[in-house]
């Protein structure tokens, strides 16, 4: 545990820096928010810093009305996909970091390379393949696709995370008689919390915000919220006030996930492992 100490001048500096950064990070959000409160005629580059003439949440209400029908689609897509792909990544990472069978590193590199494939270049064969599988048009197919394309990055994060688990821990577990699954269950999983936090943050965000696969692989009835958000904009004259309001609303579920998972950034997990 960090020793409790009195606030030092250094701490003030740290807070000052953090607050400075916070302003940088919040500035565009502030812009989006006040634009979301403006009427269409008020949206103008010249007056973009001006506060809206009146506080009215019409745009947010209009955006909400158009986004809500697709919310359930996004939830049924993102929650299972994020969880499944993180479990899969954890298992893969465990195997590739602790059970170095011949070719493990090669397999890791080949799997990793999958991260770099641009989604737009696989659209056509993907659609044709999913059709052959009978999974074209609905959410389950989209879940499968996101789980598969999430394998490289989740495996990467977990593998490097587990790689830093000391060898003594494994050795001690084996002396106690634990086997492949046992070590995973009783040693790795308890240590994995920060890893799961990071991976679920990433996967949830990416799957929630992903547009291309979403619009191509599902029928209009199954469109996730990203398609509805894109459609808020309009093609010729874009109503940015409504669009920004909508974007902020669509980001809320992801923010909730960040806040909930943030509590699990627990310190000193490794400390317990060494002591034990």
């Amino acid at each position: 545990m960090k020793a409790r100490s009195l606030p030092r001048p250094g701490t003030l500096l740290v807070y000052a820096l953090l607050i400075g950064f916070m302003l940088f990070y919040l500035l565009p959000i502030y812009l989006m928010f006040i634009t979301g409160l403006k009427s269409f005629a008020e949206v103008n580059l010249r007056t973009m810093w001006n506060l809206p003439a009146g506080i009215q949440f019409d745009n947010f209400a209009a955006a909400l009305e158009r986004l809500l029908p697709n919310l359930i689609n996004s939830l049924t897509l993102t929650i299972p996909a994020a969880i499944i792909s993180s479990i899969l990544g954890s298992l893969n990472g465990y195997v590739l970091s602790k059970w170095k069978f011949r070719g493990a590193n090669l397999i890791f590199t080949l799997v990793l390379f999958g991260m770099f494939i641009p989604y737009q270049s696989v659209l056509i064969p993907l659609v044709q393949f999913m059709q052959r599988l009978g999974l074209y048009g609905g959410i389950p197919g989209l879940i499968l696709v996101h789980v598969i394309y999430g394998i490289p990055i989740t495996t990467l994060i977990f593998r490097n995370y587990y790689a830093s688990v000391p060898g003594e821990v494994m050795a001690a577990a084996r002396i106690d008689g634990a086997d492949f699954l046992g070590i995973y269950r009783y040693i790795m999983i308890p240590l994995s919390l920060p890893g799961f936090v990071v991976v679920i943050i990433w996967q949830f965000t990416n799957i929630w915000n992903e547009f291309l696969f979403a619009v191509v692989l599902t029928n209009p009835a199954n469109w996730p919220i990203t398609v509805a958000l894109n459609n808020l904009a309009g093609s010729q004259i874009v109503e940015w006030n409504v669009q920004m309001a909508g974007a902020l609303l669509a980001a809320i579920p992801t923010l909730i996930v960040y806040v909930l998972l943030g509590r699990y950034f627990i310190r000193g997990l490794m400390a317990g492992a060494l002591k034990g």
Binding site: N44, T76, P80, I83, V127, I189, N222, N231, Q236
Partner: protein, 422 residues
């Protein structure tokens, strides 16, 4: 372990939820009577116009369900990508929106993806009400391939009367006149011409080409009779380059409506944009002729550079009878009168009631009936997607380096790769 149980419960719940989610919709909607219409009209006047036309459709065909599969994206860039994947999977919608002309013919007809509609035209007597100049542009080998819903005009110059008066400027009739008054405007701190991101510069280019080459010269560019490498085109491109020097320096960061906004805010004198700008100005609460004025782009008086949104009948369409029903409404007087005033365009048909339209659109209707008609490049009439894409790259490079000779040679190459030139 507690957390393991919790996680597995979540996964189970998730899978249950996913199983309850609607499954992929079955093929062959003839029994259920769904008509899936694909467009990029998702918001604003476009969506409202579509909704109005849909109401006409539902009233006339109460047994058919309209499924709006619109996907937003400027000029349909997202919608066309989705359409391409659906066509590759053999899953076309009942109908889709496309720009009449080579954008449809050069892409979809060439791939055998859409059906000729001559029978439909005969049944509905459309050949009598659709403009004669339009029909050849949406046909190939005598087959008509789409039902145009509206007409937009590309070669319109919008201006702020107050700015012109304050600076003693008049609406230029030729580009030379524009260049002369541009100097005065610039000296007074007014941007002569407001322009936006890259596609608006292609829009500007096509009006400059039309203004310099005239109707025949311009039309000749697209069938090989005008030489892209010749001196007339060089002169037009040099004019274009000169015009660009009077454009706002932050053009690439503005959308077309933000550029148009410069005009109504008094920061710029002119902007060249299609007549959807009228709908934009009106939505800001501005009065036509008082707060904003319009004229044909310099050098193009008497010429109507048009574009048209139209609907097609796909080969193996979902619910072909329903698709035909939709096309019938799209081409009907009722449907077009419902759609166009709201969308901010004029009917493709010549018999719509002018009283339904606002001040600008009424003048457009008058011009449409008398002017010589040529097609727009930026909006898919005269060149197919591949050719237009090559022109776009050449234009982008020109905007970056200003090399007219390289630009012209790239344009000539684009023409020959498209097959229209030798």
């Amino acid at each position: 372990m507690k957390s393991l149980k919790w996680i597995s419960l979540l996964v189970l719940a998730g899978m249950l939820l996913a199983a309850c989610a609607p499954a992929a919709s079955p093929e062959g909607e003839a029994a259920t009577g769904e008509v899936e219409v694909f467009s990029w009209w998702t918001a604003g006047g476009e969506a409202d116009g579509l909704a109005a036309m849909q109401e006409v459709f539902s009233a006339e065909y109460p047994n058919l369900t309209f499924v709006n599969a619109a996907v937003a994206g400027g000029a349909g860039t997202n919608a066309r990508a989705v359409l391409a994947t659906r066509l590759s999977a053999g899953d076309p919608p009942s109908s889709w929106q496309g720009h009449a002309g080579q954008e449809l013919i050069g892409t979809y007809v060439a791939a055998g993806q859409i059906e000729p509609l001559n029978d439909l035209y005969d049944q509905n007597g459309w050949l009598d009400v659709m403009p004669q100049t339009l029909i050849p542009l949406i046909s190939q080998d005598g087959n008509i391939y789409s039902v145009p819903v509206n007409i937009h005009r590309a070669n319109v110059m919008w201006y702020n009367p107050a700015v012109l008066e304050a600076n003693g400027a008049t609406v230029p009739a030729t580009w030379d006149e524009f260049l002369t008054s541009a100097e005065t405007l610039l000296a007074n701190g007014v941007t002569p011409l407001a322009m936006g991101e890259q596609w608006t510069s292609m829009h500007l280019l096509e009006t400059v080409l039309l203004g310099s080459l005239g109707a025949d010269g311009y039309a000749g560019l697209w069938d090989g009779s005008t030489d892209w490498a010749g001196p007339e085109v060089t002169a037009a491109l040099e004019t274009f380059q000169q015009v660009l020097t009077y454009v706002n320096s932050d053009a690439s960061t503005l959308s077309w409506d933000q550029a148009a906004q410069l005009v109504v805010d008094g920061d710029a004198a002119f902007t060249i944009m299609g007549d959807w700008a009228d709908g934009f100005f009106v939505s800001l609460g501005l009065t036509p002729e008082t707060d904003f004025g319009w004229a044909p782009a310099p050098g193009t008086d008497g010429l109507f550079q048009f574009l048209s949104d139209s609907f097609v009948l796909p080969v193996n369409a979902k619910n072909p009878e329903g698709a035909i029903a939709w096309l019938t409404v799209a081409g009907s007087k009722e449907g077009q009168e419902a759609f166009n005033p709201i969308k901010g365009s004029i009917c493709a048909r010549t018999d719509c009631d002018p009283a339904l339209f606002d001040a600008y659109l009424q003048s457009a209707i008058a011009d449409w009936n008398t002017d010589t008609v040529v097609g727009s490049l930026t909006h898919g009439v005269v060149a197919n997607d591949a050719w237009k894409s090559e022109i776009d790259t050449a234009l982008g490079l020109f905007l970056a380096d200003g090399d007219v000779a390289a630009f012209q040679s790239a344009l000539a190459t684009a023409c020959s790769s498209s097959g229209a030139c030798q």
